[in-house]
Structure formats: structure tokens, C-alpha cells
Amino acid sequence: MNSEMWAKMHGATVHFPIALILCSGALDALGFLFPGLAIRRGLHTAGYWTTILGALGTVPAVVSGLVMSKGVMLGHDALRYHHLFVWPALALIVGLAVWRAFAGDFTTRKPPIGYIATLGVAAVLIMGAGYWGGEMMLGH
């Protein structure tokens, strides 16, 4: 499979973890900020699954990205900026998903504020990675 095909694979796979982690952050933050909502449990349950699926979605995204760039971890210019957001985001997302898998879906307990804050940081990082990925495809 050539680089062009891997680039298409990267484009096809990368939007799942971006969307799922952003949704996860929004759902858990809503449930945390508005504990009186009737759908609080549903928000956290959806947050749980979007976190887990988002972390699983990073696997094809990272593998296709690395193969496409022939194993470059940082690179130059926009690729470098993309990777400076990607790698911390990956570590945070996988770490958060593993923590969440142990902690459960928060239907009977409130999520710790540290979890919500870290999820927010991961969401910002993955948005930055997506922005610089877009710059590479469209802006250069």
C-alpha cells in the first residue's frame, strides 16, 4: 500500500477519535456541571463509552499516520506542530480511558474534577492536532 493510500486511511480514521473525545468531554462536563439534570446518568454513560471508543479509535489513526509519514515522530513545519499536539493528546486519551475503565460510568458517583479538567486538556490538544492536520492538507 503506497503513501497516498495510507494518507486516505489516516483521513478516514482520524476523525473518529477527534469527534468521540470532544463528545466525551462535552458529555461528562455537562453531567458534572449540571448534576440536577434528569439525563445526568445518561450523559456520563455516553461519556464513558465515547472515551473508551475514542481511545480505541486512536490505534488506526496513529498507525496510519505513522506509516503515511514513514515513521516520522516530529518532522518539520506544520507536521511538527501537528505532532506536538498529537503525542501528548494520545498519552492523555489512553491514560484517561484506562482510568475511566476502572472508575466506571459515574452513574452513582460524581466524576472527580481532575478527570474533567484532564479530559478538557485532551480535547484541546486533539483540536490543535486536528487544526494542524488540516493546515497540512489544505493550508500548504
Binding site: S3, E4, P35, G36, R40, T58, V62, V63, L66, V67, K70, G71, V72, M73, G75, H76, W87, L90, A91, L92, I93, V94, G95, L96, A97, V98, W99, F102, A103, G104, F106, T108, R109, K110, P111, P112, I113, G114, Y115
Partner: protein, 139 residues
């Protein structure tokens, strides 16, 4: 006190945080290992393959001065991808490339689509000759 007020935060125990941190670092380490493997494979293919014309072509004249000038050009134009010692970084290792001088200068001049930029506008033919002599000296 209603059921919402009774909600207590999930305890963030040190053990869970340690496992999560380990998982995050493991993900990074796995990515790095994959990156190293891909770069190693990449150095074995493409322009690292010997070309038959190298067996018949007369080598470009070279001298220590030409090689030193080529080295200076290499450091300013090529080292950020091929590494300061030309053993490869983002770009491949340039030692023992096994290709002809004409092939080397063609790659420098025209680049490789999707892999390496063309230096036709940045470097003159004399400079490409010096760079070629330097790359040849790495054999």
C-alpha cells in the same frame, strides 16, 4: 438532601492514576517503537537501492576541499532531515547508497515526489556537484 446532593466524587486513587499514566506512556512508547521500525524499513527501500549504472559510470572528480565544501552545504541544506552525520533522521541514511553520482545529483536537483523537496532553485550546479562529492565520500 436529595439524591443529587448525595453524590460523592469518585475517589481518584493513586493506584488507578499510576496504571493510567503507565498506559499513556505505553501508548507513546509503542508509537515510538513503530516509528523506529518504519524508519528502519524505509532506509532499505527507495533510493537506497543500488542502481546498475553506478557500476559503469566514471565517478565525479573529488578532492578533500570539494568534500569539505559539500559537507558545509549538507549541514545548511540537508542535515535537518538526513542528520548532521548523514546517518538519517526524517530522511534516510546516506552512507553506502550504492547509486551513481548522476543519480545522486538528480535526486538533489529534482527531489523525490512526496518525500524530498527539489533543490533546483536553491542550489547551483557547482553546489550540487560539491554535495554529490560529499555524499559519495560517505561510501
Amino acid at each position: 438532601m436529595n439524591s443529587v446532593d448525595a453524590l460523592i466524587p469518585e475517589p481518584a486513587t493513586g493506584g488507578r492514576i499510576a496504571v493510567a499514566a503507565f498506559a499513556g506512556l505505553l501508548a507513546l512508547a509503542s508509537s515510538y517503537a513503530l516509528s523506529l521500525g518504519l524508519r528502519r524499513e524505509e532506509s532499505k527501500v527507495s533510493h537506497q537501492q543500488p542502481t546498475p549504472e553506478a557500476w559503469f559510470e566514471t565517478p565525479t572528480p573529488s578532492s578533500p576541499a570539494l568534500i569539505a565544501q559539500g559537507r558545509a552545504l549538507f549541514l545548511s541544506s540537508c542535515a535537518h532531515c538526513h542528520g548532521a552525520d548523514a546517518t538519517g533522521d526524517e530522511g534516510p541514511d546516506l552512507h553506502d547508497v550504492g547509486v551513481s553520482d548522476r543519480y545522486i545529483s538528480n535526486i538533489i536537483t529534482h527531489g523525490i515526489k512526496g518525500e524530498m523537496p527539489s533543490f533546483r532553485k536553491k542550489l547551483g550546479s557547482d553546489e550540487i556537484l560539491r554535495l554529490t562529492a560529499y555524499v559519495r565520500s560517505l561510501d
